[in-house]
Symmetry: C2
Subunit: 506 residues, 2 copies
């Protein structure tokens, strides 16, 4: 469910003020200057790096459509081998395979990488250039970008990490950390089998040695700023289904609406069940026991959020979202606290009966609400589902089906973990303003790493910019014309420096 | 909104027991025997009558698509002229034209006919034979039937009335009543301009002279039985729309669902607004003042319903509907009273945000509920809309849009009116069991006739069988193999006898 973190523009907009330092690929930045041979190799390899992304985009793996899944896993493994991983094996699961690769550089420390080789579905008719053609176009304010499905989510950033390893090898520099790579092909369907990859003894053993794990990201905003998230909310996606079939009242199928006078309505029942879940303003869960494991914000978390509120641009954030006011007309500082601290019950979609233009006089036999629940520590997905079920049952809605379609537990990563400190050091050396965010309001499948028994620090890291995950015209900037934002070469060097920071932080 | 009465199978199933008398096109039925020359002409003309329906089906007029509207009106006028109407003129409206025709037979009494020349949209891919080809196929249990869009709704029954007039002319028998025909081309979009046709001075004057008006119908069930409705519920179709745009809270468009923590949800607001409209079981309106003009059933209405309950087949009705129990587990007699007497607030459809398979983590900027309200005397469409608006406003939902897409007032026709007595007499002479139904739970645009200033008795009349209005494979039986159900020749003779009954009843 990459959509949970890919559309995080609002978060960088929310949490990042204007970057005050210049990031320029034409000027030397601190990190790069320490590795002149690698910079030279990265520059020489940038054309090949761009082509590597384009070629990868041409082979879309889509788990929901069972499209190119074996091919995609093989391609992923080959990409890893080409980048210098010693071994890259395809790991079968009960679903589509994962990939596991290691690169032993004889280093003291190990860093892990989380990749996905699948992409979201797409409709070519909605795109301004063919989504598999990976055409390079101008993106005003940013530079030249690859447009294609998977460009930013996640083939572009992932291939840029691989390009960094290619550059180091070309420069005959051995990475200062050992690297473990785990990849899956089911991220876009909610990672239903990825835990099977992680639980494989050899994978688990390799990951256990790591300082932490990150998924490559290209989250620099137009001011070059980034957010470093110390965790993310969990999510449960589910459908509530009310049907005459299950209820034993109302019609099994759609019938003529005049019968409403004597036939119960599954659609009205769905409305009543939904109405029982939240406060009248729709802003707070009233599900029995919902808050009992919600951990309040710590003093440090509040401090970080207050700092973010001081520097963030509320008006830009509101404009980006098309929102005039926050819930309860909260001031921005309190809104940001709420964003980080509060679990949610959201309606993603309502669908029942006749949904076309105009009307159709039917009494529908079935109605569905698609919900997503955002969870904060120490809530869990299993707990949330159980509590919602019990809440509905207690109110007599035992017939209303609760079908979970996916979800993850929340994640937490300590601010003093080596990976976070290394990220902050890397951003600082690159002249990039990085704002510590106690908790991403979105979600990602990181709990498989952060939860016991692995208990790895985990997050997102990377320089560069891209956008449009899951949307038409998804793009990834390769040649930056914005002096505050990294192009592909500087993004490669950002990963290189991150390897060094992991190796060096105390 | 012909769907309101076309899908009335449930009503005949509900109200009609097994026909005890034989109806057979091969045996002589009473009515036919009185007009042997007309029967002979009807038999001779049946092939032409079938072809007339087929040719008409080949020219679909669809108001929603502005398809063949002028052509359809001309065709309708020509059909009337060919059937012997003295004059048939196209009547312009602010929308699509109507048709007005008269046939002065120098008779003492006048009968009016209501026709529609438009048909419902169709998707040929869903049909087993091309919907404009009007192929003749076998319908087990009934006989040979024309399959095509408009076959039963309403070209088949309408052309059968015209065929009856052709047969009378061929037999050199002058109809015993004067006939007025009014037709519209916007029935399927809710008759928004038909009142303009009726209000034309010459049309109004002609209709005012009539004993009553009927729309031809072919409602015989498999047992040959029919229902005679003494009125119909009114209907309002509307959409309730909750949007960030109008509300000034929540997002203007769809945003990432993680923002629910600080952004209001138009979808939750729609749920709250809906929830305010009905009792928790969804079965009764709690809209302020909703029942103040509801006229309780009269003793006679209750008597008719009790009679219907005694002879009706509840189990067949439940099976047809796919319903195990009525609201509140009512016994059938009470359910039928409720069906006739109670106004309804029904959800036809819910649509908002993501409606495809699986989930999509968005907070939708807009959500819509499509409702239909069924009204009983003395409620009116205008009153119902005003009360729902006031109810929502009073509870603060001033931003929730209420967009009416169509509707009609309820109708009532006196049991002792000449047209009802003539219908009952005709059915009786044909050996058809006719059950008096105080009120059709469905709706039709008859209020334009039954309300002042016209105040005409109005309803549905006809022998024969067809089904599938608005659905694929809509059909109209032309050659009956069911001895209880009329084929096209006997249906023609039914209309002939109806003319005589109108002329003869006291």
């Amino acid at each position: 469910m990459a959509q949970n973190f890919d559309r995080r523009d609002f978060l960088t907009a929310a949490l990042a003020g204007a970057g005050s330092m210049m990031f320029s690929s034409s000027s030397a930045w601190a990190a790069a200057e320490r590795y002149p041979a690698i910079r030279k190799a990265a520059e020489a390899g940038s054309e090949a790096a761009i082509k590597r992304i384009q070629d990868w985009i041409a082979l879309p793996s889509i788990a929901a459509e069972n499209l190119n899944m074996q091919e995609g896993a093989k391609y992923m493994a080959n990409l890893a081998r080409d980048a210098g991983f010693d071994a890259a094996t395809i790991v079968p699961t009960d679903g589509h395979p994962g990939v596991f690769a290691t690169m032993d550089n004889g280093a003291k420390r190990t860093l892990a990488l989380y990749f996905m080789y699948d992409v979201k579905q797409f409709d070519p008719a909605e795109w301004s250039s063919p989504p598999l053609a990976a055409k390079i176009v101008d993106k005003p304010g940013f530079g030249r970008a690859i447009v294609g499905r998977g460009a930013v989510n996640q083939k572009g950033p992932e291939a840029t990490v691989l390009a960094a390893l290619h550059a180091m090898r070309a420069a005959k520099v051995k990475p200062p950390v050992n690297i473990v790579l785990v990849a899956e092909g089911e991220e876009e369907i909610g990672s239903p089998h990825f835990h099977q990859v992680v639980q494989r003894p050899e994978v688990f053993a390799a990951l256990k040695k790591a300082e932490g794990i990150f998924i490559p990201a290209s989250w620099q905003d137009v001011n070059g700023s980034v957010a470093v998230n110390l965790g993310s909310k969990g999510v449960v996606e589910l459908e509530l289904v009310s049907s005459g079939e299950k209820w034993g009242r109302g019609p099994k199928g759609d019938i003529h609406s005049s019968m409403k006078a004597i036939v119960d309505s599954p659609a009205w029942r769905l409305v009543a069940a939904l109405n029982s879940l939240v406060t009248p303003d729709g802003n707070n869960s009233v599900i029995d026991g919902w808050f009992e494991n919600v951990r309040p914000l710590t003093a440090r978390e509040k401090e970080l959020l207050a700092e973010a509120a001081r520097t963030a641009d509320e008006q830009t954030q509101k404009k980006l979202l098309g929102v005039n006011r926050w819930v309860d007309d909260l001031p921005y500082a309190q809104a940001l606290e709420r964003l980080a601290s509060q679990p949610t019950v959201n309606i993603e979609g309502l669908v029942g009966g006749y949904t076309g233009p105009g009307g159709k006089t039917i009494l529908p036999g079935r109605a569905v609400a698609k919900l997503d629940l955002r969870l904060v520590p120490n809530q869990t997905r299993a707990e949330a589902v159980k509590k919602m079920r019990a809440h509905l049952d207690k109110r007599g809605f035992t017939d209303v089906e609760l079908n979970v379609t996916g979800g993850y537990d929340p994640t937490e990563t300590a601010e003093d973990s080596r990976i976070i400190r290394a990220e902050l050091a890397t951003y600082k050396r690159a002249g990039v303003k990085a704002t510590l965010n106690p908790r991403l309001a979105g979600s990602w499948p990181g709990a498989v790493f952060t939860a016991p028994p692995l208990s790895l620090p985990a997050g997102h890291f990377g320089l560069g910019h891209g956008s449009g995950a899951h949307a038409p015209d998804e793009y990834y900037v390769v040649e930056s014309t914005n002096p505050k934002v990294a192009g592909i070469t500087d993004a490669m060097l950002g990963y290189v420096d991150m390897f060094y920071q992991i190796a060096q932080v105390s």
